[in-house]
Symmetry: C2
Subunit: 352 residues, 2 copies
Amino acid sequence: MGWEANVRTVTPYVAGEQPKEQGVIKLNTNESPYPPAPGVARALREYDADILRKYPDAETEPLLSELAAYYGVEKEQVFVGVGSDDVLAMAFLTFFNHPTLPVLFPDITYSFYDVWAELFRIPYEVQMLDGQFRIKEEDYHKPNGGVIIPNPNAPTGELAPMQMFENILRANPDVVCIVDEAYIDFGGESCLKLIDRYENLLVVRTFSKSRALAGMRIGYAFGSKKLIRCLQDVKYSFNSYTMNSITLAAGVEAVRDDAYFKEITKKVITTRERSKRELAALGFSFPDSKSNFIFATHEKYDAKELFEALRAHNIYVRHWDKPRIGNYLRISIGTDEEMDTLFAFLKEYCRA
Amino acid sequence: MGWEANVRTVTPYVAGEQPKEQGVIKLNTNESPYPPAPGVARALREYDADILRKYPDAETEPLLSELAAYYGVEKEQVFVGVGSDDVLAMAFLTFFNHPTLPVLFPDITYSFYDVWAELFRIPYEVQMLDGQFRIKEEDYHKPNGGVIIPNPNAPTGELAPMQMFENILRANPDVVCIVDEAYIDFGGESCLKLIDRYENLLVVRTFSKSRALAGMRIGYAFGSKKLIRCLQDVKYSFNSYTMNSITLAAGVEAVRDDAYFKEITKKVITTRERSKRELAALGFSFPDSKSNFIFATHEKYDAKELFEALRAHNIYVRHWDKPRIGNYLRISIGTDEEMDTLFAFLKEYCRA
């Protein structure tokens, strides 16, 4: 049929499995092991459904103002979208339009970047991480059509120093540089403080990890007013209302309860540090993660076989059949109890 | 600054005003004057917020299956998005990729079509409606890169006969034809029955009008399995999870309560027919709307002045400063009480 000749050719991103069975230990998509802030449940319970007959606030209020106040920026410096994937997709579409120069990002990184580049037909060129899975700053000091780097990087968990980003920004005033901070709340230093100095910096965040709201789909970004205005214009050219009313109300509650946010974040960090010790004792090695996951390998065991063995025992982690990382597993940090079940299994596995 | 040179140039769509004041009679965005089905409120009230820490179902279940069952199609023939705007944006991106031939749509129509075409740099050519604001079928019998027509058309409210769409589909097997049925539930005959015969037909719908859920952002579409698969692939290349968990649950309740759906739709139709009589008696003329709005003009009064006068009295309708329709107002159908307030004002206005 002729119509198929005009269909956009894509290779979709493949997300981690969402098993429907009960009783699964789900350490494969970096979700929070803790529920969202209690205010979220209350907001849903008390929500006046009659409001839903009207369109939501196109400017994403009241969440926009809540985020601006919490992070100490002006609301014209904030953008809100349907998860950070929506924010990043809009950012690729908005900012990465150089006709020939490639967008640069690491070879081992969030595997959606090349999908967006292909979707929007943006030239790109991956930059090899070093042997310790570290970003080599010099790779980003050459002509390019834009830069995107996660910090901490995923799936490695490796945090890059703030100075590196400042150097990259200084070297690239003519393109937009995106720092994808999906995991920054688990111990990293944010580039947010740089937005007033670098007009071309976009810092992207999510409610899906540290704010325990993956199911609600909320992402956000910070940048100069001029940068955010460009992003808004493209967003308004795509869909006037991406954020529904109830999501905006629930998001406000998640931001407002700072004590709860700090409490669950701290718990994840504590469990992560303990998990590092447990895994190291079993002979695993891994980059020193500052995220809510650990990217681990074991010289004696095949990662894919271990992945299958874990899965057969209802423990889901993430494995990619890809160059350089084929013998690694990305393990999300669960509750202490979930991690203990994992370690018990691994102890048996290593003994057998 | 150099980075701005690579920013995508767009002219965003401008949605109808969402006034924040209380006591406004809002007849400007074709929302439902009635609340969503009672099951929606119950779903929110009883929702287990703990679910939100996990990602939603990427396949948009359980809403996908509910829609398939209700409309008697297979679930592989259904697509769900963040309002029909999201569905349409994805469809433009997926299907309208002919390098040179233009996408065709009416000159007077939903004013987002040209915005999406510009956003994605798709060539397009508008086709003039006739003097009675009717689509001329022959305009769509020429080489093109795709066709999109709303039925009923907006902002005219005019319904085109099913046979016209069948003729256009038959004449255009090599491109995708989209029928945008945002307003079909208010008395039109749907092209849904044609999807089994025309592999290149996409029928797009929304929960924002007849299902009273504009604030929830739910759109959907029907097509052949092959067509829907293409749309899904692009969607998964943009954002793995566009629909949040609670929206999927609420959407199910809106579909399930068929009696309520039929009741509120019937009420809107009854009020619309009465409104036609009232407006005609005041000397207004309008196409015979089969939607939840009336596109009215009066030879004695300037539409823009009337728009401003209504607004000053807290009655919001829609006006466009555009060729051919500059002397028209689009009036959404509200409750009988809201419409009576409108008619009382218009009677005074016409007397003065």
